[in-house]
Symmetry: C2
Subunit: 102 residues, 2 copies
């Protein structure tokens, strides 16, 4: 069994890896997840973002755990399907961040 | 000013009108809203429903207040943009109910 200090530092490094791959997201544990709220100026922009999100999600084979949206916002939660966030899961987060600021 | 009994019965008739137009939905007040959870067998079906929802929403000019979805469910909240749910808002609810059972 890992000693508590090693376990703690393994958690921290999982978080650090996720956040450096996907800056601007919030990380949480149990399960390891990335969360971000995207705000838009119009319903048209919101819908465009949702369409791109669906494309990226298909391209990377990652289904976000939860999407919550209204007229001018989209809240995205990407949770680890395995013990930690995979490279594809972090990449989806990074791509969405890029889309929103593009 | 309306007397409390008249106000109460006006609220009830707004609710009854909404629920008879859109059976299977839950009604709530402040603001008058319809809520329904749709459950699907696969992510593909969920995505198909979301695409249809976007089409119907455009066709009727109604933007749902909130959509919350995961891999196999979609929670839809349609709130009154005016003092009561409009005919189009109730119709969107009715169409979504039809789509989900089709």
């Amino acid at each position: 069994m890992m000693d508590p200090t090693a376990l703690e530092s393994s958690k921290e490094s999982a978080r650090d890896a996720a956040l450096s791959a996907a800056p601007g997201w919030q990380w949480s544990e149990r399960p390891p997840s990335l969360f971000r709220r995207f705000q838009f100026g119009s319903y048209g922009q919101t819908r465009q973002f949702l369409d791109r999100l669906a494309e990226q999600s298909d391209a990377l084979g990652v289904q976000p755990q939860n999407i919550n949206f209204g007229t001018t916002y989209v809240n995205v939660t990407i949770s680890a399907s395995g013990p930690n966030l995979s490279e594809s899961e972090c990449r989806l987060a990074a791509e969405l961040g890029r889309l929103a600021t593009a």
